[in-house]
Symmetry: C2
């Protein structure tokens, strides 16, 4: 059933009635995305937030030196968008690209706002998710301040073992702020 | 009136009824905090979230080399806590300290949860605030990836001119990941 993953996810963090669930899934659109296809590209307006049913994505920007910098990853049960663009209707500076064949459910800002006007539990669901994202972002900022390259990799591995298997190493290196060569050296040391 | 700032802030982002406002302010406790006093200290449990009515705070941790690293600042109309500790009931790794004499409204997790069970608009208020925090965190992570030291300072100055005047320079240097000497050099160049 195409809404099973999202319904399970909502029920994990909130207690919506059947009507609240129905009003929410009524505004979701299912989409298949091929590997390497873009959900959004730099310069566009992010009119949608995306729930990942299947697959893996990365968001990245190209810095002034022309180097791709990976900002985030997303896998099953994550919401992914450029929040600044989605909320404030600004042009995004990010690209979001599938790293595997994927299935998403997307919701437009205007439809989501309508449901959020009347559903306490859908508000709660997104509030709780944002609390968890806030914790992850804060942890990441602290790590960026405090950990050596090798510790960053080990910590990432500990928190996200499934990512390390799924994503190309040059993307992971970029996310951690390494060169691919440096990452390769750390991995050899860790796994040998 | 001691709840004026928080009521204005809620009304800016949500549309609560008088009853919803009342149920929320009933669970707030006013507290005066002296400059340099701690709201929370490393190793404690953050049972409260704090709304800043007046004053300025910083959150920081001490890294493995014994150096204080400033993670966040907060001024009027900001909520400040260690979210990880507050949500997950873990010991905090952070310190939150007043950098000026301050007035806060604090709310316990258990009381907040009760209000959030029944008020759509208070859920909405915290959801919208968290969306804005998410945008700021993402912007910061992108800046940390992409900007030179001088650009980081200029960007911080542009987004937060009021902070630069209010906080001790060594704290700002720590927040931006600089030595105080490096910050002093950039400031001299910018403002001369």
């Amino acid at each position: 059933m195409k809404f099973e993953a999202i319904i399970n996810h909502i029920n994990k963090f909130a207690n919506p009635s059947e009507e609240e669930i129905q009003s929410f899934i009524d505004i979701l659109e299912l989409e298949n995305i091929s590997s390497r296809e873009y959900l959004i590209k730099e310069g566009q307006y992010c009119n949608y937030n995306h729930f990942i049913v299947k697959g893996c994505f990365r968001s990245f920007f190209t810095n002034k030196k022309g180097v791709e910098k990976t900002v985030n990853f997303g896998i099953e049960d994550w919401w992914l968008t450029d929040f600044d663009s989605f909320m404030n209707k600004t042009q995004t500076q990010l690209n979001i690209q599938a790293t595997e064949d994927a299935v998403i459910l997307k919701v437009s800002k205007s439809n989501l706002d309508i449901v959020l006007q009347s559903s306490l539990e859908i508000n709660k669901y997104f509030r709780v998710i944002l609390e968890r994202v806030r914790i992850a972002d804060q942890r990441r900022i602290q790590f960026m301040f405090n950990l050596s390259g090798e510790e960053l990799y080990n910590t990432f591995y500990e928190y996200n073992p499934e990512f390390v298997q799924r994503i190309p190493q040059y993307m992971l290196a970029s996310y951690l702020g390494f060169t691919p060569e440096f990452l390769s050296k750390i991995r050899t040391k860790k796994h040998s």
